[in-house]
């Protein structure tokens, strides 16, 4: 296809011999084809978006000595029980006869409960965020302040218990709510018999 057209004009008789003027025009069409073929290949075979991730730190398996163990005050404790069919139950403090309250994973459900419990800290975090936007605080200072606020004295401690019927989505949703309502002290714990007793009547 490449046309390198040459001017094969007739030589004049007896005229001076002129060097042939060859046009340097090359047909680029195949090269464009090749270019787009490669683009298509790269578009299909690669991914542009990096995966999102949630960082999680689990407690160590090693036995913690008595004095190092942090005991949560009953008034700060919140327990979430993730049950079958996306149902979620919660109670504050010690498990009581009064039992558990049911809620859901929506913004007006679990989030509201947690935000009410964590009202002070959530307000402070919000303030800090606004301050950061205004003053262009550097990230490190921001993070330091954030963790300071989050580990405040009255910060609630959330225990997340999942029943065997819960799905991974439920767990991630619950962890997500922790991030949203700025709760830094939470743990995924096994469901004990006392708590499974509490929800027994509710789910079957």
């Amino acid at each position: 296809m490449a046309e390198i057209s040459q001017d094969s004009g007739s030589h004049k008789k007896g005229g001076k011999k002129r060097s042939k003027k060859a046009t340097t025009r090359i047909d680029f069409t195949p090269m464009v084809d090749l270019g787009f073929l490669l683009i298509t290949f790269f578009m299909l075979a690669t991914s542009l978006i990096k995966q999102q991730t949630m960082e999680i730190t689990m407690p160590s398996d090693k036995k913690v000595s008595e004095e190092n163990q942090t005991v949560a005050k009953a008034s700060q404790a919140v327990t979430l029980i993730l049950a079958k069919n996306d149902r979620v139950f919660y109670y504050f403090g010690q498990p009581t006869e009064a039992g558990v309250t049911e809620t859901d994973y929506s913004g007006s459900g679990l989030r509201k409960v947690l935000l009410e419990k964590n009202y002070e800290i959530a307000a402070q975090v919000e303030e800090l965020k606004q301050e950061k936007a205004k003053t262009k605080m550097d990230d490190e200072a921001y993070r330091k302040k954030l963790s300071e606020i989050k580990s405040g004295k009255n910060a609630p401690v959330v225990r997340i218990m999942a029943t065997n019927d819960a799905s991974y989505k439920n767990l991630v949703d619950a962890l997500d709510e922790m991030n949203i309502s700025s709760i830094s002290r939470y743990a995924i714990v096994d469901l004990d018999s006392l708590d499974s007793e509490l929800i027994r009547g509710r789910v079957n």
Binding site: R25, F28, V32, E55, I56, M58, G107, V172, L175, N179
Partner: protein
């Protein structure tokens, strides 16, 4: 009346500019993207508000499908080579050079060590068959996942652990994996999630 002569215009279009554009785009895609990891099962991760991005390299992935099958993979072909050799030694399975080479090409493998040899001997298409992916056992009696993670940790000290699981993965499987990681003192890891879209938050009242 003289004939009206239609001027013959050449249909030649200069393609140089188009080539420039094509190659510019090509360069962009080559530099910004990375290859899709081939996953043996389709996994639909749950969404979260977290915006932390996962690094591309130095990562070991534990993939859990919705039936609770476990897959394990690590990046880097040399690491994979060492990994399968050491795992072979631990479980006294001897792999041929070809089988080891095959393993280095697999992103995520999920088979008990007993079935690994046959799995590596299969063709690409057979490997995709779910019946040929039995999952890594992680039960208390036969916890091969622990061996995988432990061996991978010996080979790559800086690698992060990422757990990628399907929305519908039952909690007991997750618990099993978390317990396994806890046993070998791997207490920090990442859960891979999808960015929360506006459609995900159904307004319920």
């Amino acid at each position: 009346m003289p004939k009206v002569k239609v001027a013959r215009k050449s249909t030649w279009v200069d393609m140089t500019a188009m080539t420039d554009v094509a190659f510019l785009l090509l360069t962009f895609f080559m530099l910004t993207s990375n290859f899709v990891k081939k996953e043996p099962v389709l996994v639909y991760t749950p969404s979260s508000i977290s915006e932390i991005k996962i690094p591309e390299t130095n990562i070991m992935t534990v993939l859990l499908d919705k039936n609770g099958k476990i897959f394990f993979g690590i990046d880097g072909q040399t690491t994979r080579r060492d990994l399968i050799t050491r795992m072979g030694e631990k479980f006294s399975v001897s792999f041929t050079e070809e089988e080891i080479r095959q393993f280095t090409l697999i992103d995520l493998a999920g088979n008990p060590m007993g079935a690994m040899k046959t799995y590596l001997g299969m063709g690409m298409e057979q490997r995709e068959n779910p019946d040929n992916n039995l999952g890594v056992p992680a039960d208390s009696t036969d916890n091969q996942l622990r061996a995988w993670v432990k061996t991978a940790r010996e080979l790559n000290k800086d690698a992060r652990i990422a757990i990628k699981a399907d929305e519908k993965t039952p909690y007991p499987t997750i618990k099993k994996v978390m317990k396994t990681l806890q046993q070998i003192d791997e207490n920090r890891y990442n859960l891979i999630t999808r960015l929360e879209g506006p459609s995900d938050e159904a307004p319920k009242k």
